[in-house]
Symmetry: C2
């Protein structure tokens, strides 16, 4: 298994499962040596073999592989049975370990996940207890598997040729990179496929109906519903297909979890650590001020820059106007990352404070908070334009005088700063331009950043390491490869390179897609061609992400997952808000594309509210309908699960069938028995005449006598009738 | 088991499981006799013993019991294994039939359900295929079990003494009457217990804050959410406690189901009958015109009567006013039952046309339609008063002149019919009076009707039967008991009485509770004491229903169920609509209890809409929060299920543990093995020096050598440093 063909050739990984990068630059010699010895010993205790080589910049590369395949199989079997006990698998693995592995071969992802857990799990759970950069293992810089370069090359080549990814392509990713990353690709692929419809419809609507078409708004809303509901269906289907349904419930425990007390699980008898739910709920309530604070902070920043921009571009008339126009963009570019950084940091602390037990709960909570930040930064500018600038522009703009202070130094006379109270007109193209900026320009810039920034970061990081090594006295970089055995030279060079790469975070890629979906659901009615841009963008996005994983990042640890998690809630939320924002946009702008021209007096507020109200409730009704319809769809995954569960039970049933057949069979053959026994009963009863029950039931023996007695009674009635008639 | 103490004494049921009432009045003699013979034979084939006695009014009473307990046990075991295969039970019954019955004794409800299925199931499924009043069995009037009178007496006596029902009381009902009825009592009991809070709070709010208090509205809304969410939790908990979770999925098939084609189930290999889902969906779409039609019909009727009432009581001034005031009530009392009857009939046909496969799906669909009718008849009058009469009264009332035609014959001069356009003022008490009527008077009347109407109906029915028998020529009623064996006299008299009782329908009782909940959620802000009335009413309601089941109705067949079904959706829907209607009521009436005094001009429509909008969204957010919080609660039922599932799997795990221990154990002891094997590997490798992999992994033997090599590399770095320094 370890020397499979894909690993051979010049690109061989030499059976290495994981590489541990151990940096000793910041520790004193004796401690570093003692810890390294402990590291080797711990790994060996967990059943792992080790080899050490020189790393770059005061680091060692410790190569790790499983010492014996037997041991690995045992671990795999344990993990599978554990899954089954906790309800992840419907069918139990065959009782024989070998058979189990043959009937369901080990995928690379499963192998790497189990070995990673062997390295990182605490010692009392049979692992080596190595926690990178944490606690006593702060010298352990990273633990990473090696890229399979020949496979990666094939992968990228293949994807660049096809238009559409099949489920088998996703299966392949799942087998290589684990379910969590496979779910990202599956989601993006589904989204990409679904985009074809709004792209075509949107382009036609744009040509035939123009912007702010109510018809487009309705179709787009329904599309959002169908897509989210269908993805939910697809997701659970894939989870079953990949055997990870419910896996989020048995998620890896967090090491930082602080328990209040320990109790015995009433079910399994295991000791479980408890943190009071009420206490956590109290801590979770802090999310409310956090959300308000984030909204206030980011909102103020965005609104201020927005105001300055409007002031300079539409009020101000002095010198340097062409340069000053970029002032707000400059402020945003500098201040926004700092603010979001601070808020993200705060969100992380808050989530840590909420003290979740499992990684997935922690991540879900963090994702929710990050979504709030994203929602504000991504959509607030457009909301401001559509619902503040356009309707209230004429009223607000005069107050923007306050910004004249900003440009005072440049003004030549007071007149240039006086706002033209009469004659000011809102810029009717502003809204559309902004939407186009966010849905086209920003997307392209973003994708470029995704490829370029990590590259620069990596270069910078390598530089930093070099400097640090130099400070340690000697230019070690020259020596590193000197003692390499010649046949390992190429291999070690590659490993040293991979050691410097960043760690891939699938969440940020997912976030990007969800934010993109938001533009579609919230604002695409402004510019219906939006989906076309997204369609093109996402074709490249999928490939760029694949390249990013292969080239820019360390090979990710193949974690499992059964869902895209809290992003699903975000999707639903965006679709919902979309039903309202779209209705409001159509109401405000559909008569006249420029909207209310800066004066709110022409707006019928009750009409606006009524439109939003109806749109939302129609949305909710349709969603309910779509949900019911989709739940009726047969899913191959669920069918598989049902089959497996049925098989387990059928087998049991067959085993106990022997017992059952001892009890009397039913049907015609039974009549004899029952009559026999009945007559016996009756005879017994008449002999002893014991109870009223036996006397009651012995008056008619067998069904023939009942039938006869009944006929008799009926005849008596008839006879009575005739008697009466004759009287 | 059959001769348990509760059946002994003068109230004994003589081991009778079911009584089949066979009426031959409408059939000719020969057919009746032949069919009766077939009936006895079919029952006997299904393993049932029979006895026949005279019934009242040209009917026979065929007593049925299971011929042998062995046969019954076999059936019970089959049913339990079937449940387990389809996922209703988490744990399989023990493989030995006897052990299975001992470990989980047969409850009376289970026994009666299984025997009922033996009687009614088609012959190819091992039953006798008797379908009362249907197809070839139209002479079979009813199949009913006998009341356990001594138990019933104890039950009523006990309940009349206690204030609160414990879970054990509900368990008892479940064991006697089956889960479906037990769920009704459990729901009503939970609802009753939850009512204590709004009763106290509502009474205080009424005293301190008056009507239309926003605080009361908020608290009431939250209470509605907590109650519905808590009931959902409680329901699934009870379903597990009673072992019926998922039972609705394996529900009894409908006999009237028409399949389009037959396919083999890909999972179980059983033949299943298919009706196209798309076709059903198309048919289901007819619900939309149905709902609109029902709304239009009932709405017109209610609005017309409402208009007439307003006209007569507030505009009309002529003679007979005191009498004419009752005209609209009269119209409603006569026309409403006819209309709802027609609509219910139509709903039933529509549901039948939708062609559901199972009883529960059919019932759910029917319930949804009936809920629409109920919603209109129960709440529309109040909606009309609050949102039409009060705000638009002054505008609409003049148009009510059209009704002057109705009263023209009574008018003495034209003046009496002229609407007082000036001086008309809406009746400010109307809304409150109406709410009080629906929440107090109607409830009391309703409960009285529940006890009195069935009694009258029964008397009437008996009379009708008597007349029919008389028409058949002979006064049979006199003869019926003449030939009874003296010791059976009392018993047969009782059975003949029970044969005339109606069949209990739990759905109508549930509907009553749900409609009541609707008044609380939709309108209680008008009169916050509402909950006090309901609290008192429901204490009696629970007892009255128990009495009704025991005295007025035949013993119900103990059907299973795992939920109160679609009523749950109705509850959620009512709570949701309540969040909107309450906000609107508070907005319109809280300034001045008389509201807008009939003129809409003072109403800020955008304010009203905004209030509704915010209230609804706060409602949805709170509901989401409550849902999350309640999902965190530990439930004893789910814990039980988890334990059972765990035990099944644990057992399996233990069985396969022998296999597992053959693979190497982990931890310290393993090091030796791994080192040994590693060294062997290494030696092999150096001997053959075959692959680059083996050469790579054989450079360091065991963890000690890796550690030493690592220390060596680190020292080399340090040495390099010193060399450099000394240079």
């Amino acid at each position: 298994m370890t020397s499979s063909p894909k690993n051979s050739g010049p690109q061989t990984n030499l059976d290495v499962d994981y590489v541990i990068s151990y940096r000793f630059a910041d520790s004193d010699k004796a401690t570093a040596a003692a810890k390294f010895e402990k590291l080797c010993h711990s790994l060996s205790s967990a059943g792992l073999a080790t080899e050490v080589r020189n790393g770059e910049n005061h680091s060692l590369l410790l190569f790790v592989k499983v010492a014996s395949e037997e041991h690995l199989y045992g671990e795999v079997y344990r993990s599978r049975v554990h899954d089954w006990i906790h309800g992840v698998r419907a069918a139990a693995p065959p009782k024989d370990t070998r058979t189990a592995l043959e009937s369901e071969p080990l995928s690379e992802a499963e192998r790497l996940r189990i070995i990673y857990q062997l390295i990182t799990n605490p010692e009392d759970e049979g692992g080596a207890g190595i926690t990178p950069k944490e606690g006593e293992w702060k010298e352990v810089e990273s633990i990473f598997a090696l890229h399979d370069h020949s496979y990666n090359k094939d992968w990228i080549k293949q994807w660049s040729r096809v238009w559409y990814l099949k489920t088998e392509d996703l299966d392949e990713i799942r087998n290589r990179l684990g379910e969590k990353i496979a779910f990202y690709f599956a989601f993006t692929q589904s989204y990409f496929a679904f985009l074809v419809f709004p792209a075509i419809f949107g382009a036609s609507a744009w040509l035939l109906l123009g912007n702010f078409s109510p018809l487009y708004a309705i179709v787009n809303g329904i599309w959002c519903i169908v897509f989210t509901e269908w993805w939910k269906h697809q997701e659970s289907d894939l989870a079953v297909r990949w055997g990870v349904r419910n896996v989020s419930k048995i998620d890896v425990k967090r090491k930082d979890f602080e328990h209040e007390r320990e109790i015995k699980d009433p079910v399994t008898g295991e000791t479980i650590r408890i943190f009071s739910g009420t206490k956590r709920l109290q801590r979770q309530l802090l999310q409310l001020p956090f959300a308000l604070g984030a909204a206030a902070l980011l909102g103020t920043l965005i609104a201020t820059c927005f105001g300055i921009e409007v002031f300079i571009s539409e009020v101000y008339n002095g010198p340097f106007k062409t340069v000053l126009v970029f002032l707000p963009t400059g402020i945003l570019t500098i201040v926004m990352p700092i603010l979001t950084g601070l808020l993200t940091d705060f969100a992380t602390r808050l989530t840590a404070f909420e003290n979740y037990e499992t990684h997935s709960a922690y991540e879900a909570a963090l994702t929710r908070k990050i979504f709030i930040i994203n929602f504000i930064t991504s959509y607030l500018p457009i909301f401001l334009t559509a619902f503040v600038y356009v309707p209230f522009g004429s009223i607000i703009v005069p107050y923007l005088d306050v910004f004249s202070l900003t440009v005072k130094p440049f003004a030549e006379n007071e007149k240039q700063l006086t706002s033209p109270k009469v004659g000011f007109a809102i810029n009717p193209d502003r809204l559309k331009k902004q939407v186009i900026y966010f849905t086209v320009t920003a997307q392209v810039v973003n994708m470029a950043m995704e490829v370029i920034v990590p590259y620069l970061k990596r270069q910078g990081f390598m530089k930093y390491k070099e400097i640090q090594s130099k400070r340690a006295g000697n230019n070690g970089t020259l020596d590193v490869a000197a003692n390499d055995p010649p046949e390992e030279h190429q291999f070690l060079k590659r490993v040293r390179n991979e050691a410097t790469l960043s760690i891939y975070d699938v969440t940020s890629d997912l976030r990007e897609m969800v934010v993109q979906f938001g533009y579609l659901s919230l604002f695409s009615v402004v510019w219906p061609v939006t989906a076309v841009s997204f369609l093109v963008n996402n074709w490249f996005e999928l490939r760029a992400d694949a390249i990013k994983i292969c080239v820019e990042m360390q090979r990710p640890v193949p974690w499992r997952s059964d869902t895209i998690g809290p992003w699903l809630d975000s999707l639903e939320f965006l679709a919902w808000v979309g039903s309202m924002s779209t209705a409001a946009l159509v109401f405000l702008f559909s008569d006249d594309e420029a909207g209310p021209h800066g004066t709110p007096y022409g707006i019928k507020v009750w009409g606006l509210l009524l439109a939003v109200f109806f749109s939302e409730h129609i949305f909710l009704t349709v969603r309910w309908g779509v949900r019911v319809a989709i739940s009726k769809l047969e899913s191959p995954g669920l069918q598989k699960e049902r089959r497996e569960r049925f098989m387990v039970r059928k087998q049991y049933f067959n085993e106990s069938l022997g017992q059952l057949s001892k009890s009397p069979a039913m049907g015609e053959s039974y009549t004899e028995i029952s009559r026999q026994s009945l007559e016996d009963d009756a005879r017994d009863a008449s002999l002893s005449a014991s109870s009223p029950e036996s006397r009651f039931w012995s008056r008619q023996k067998g069904w023939q006598e009942s039938a006869k007695a009944g006929t008799g009674l009926m005849e008596k009635y008839a006879a009575g009738n005739e008697t009466k008639k004759s009287q």
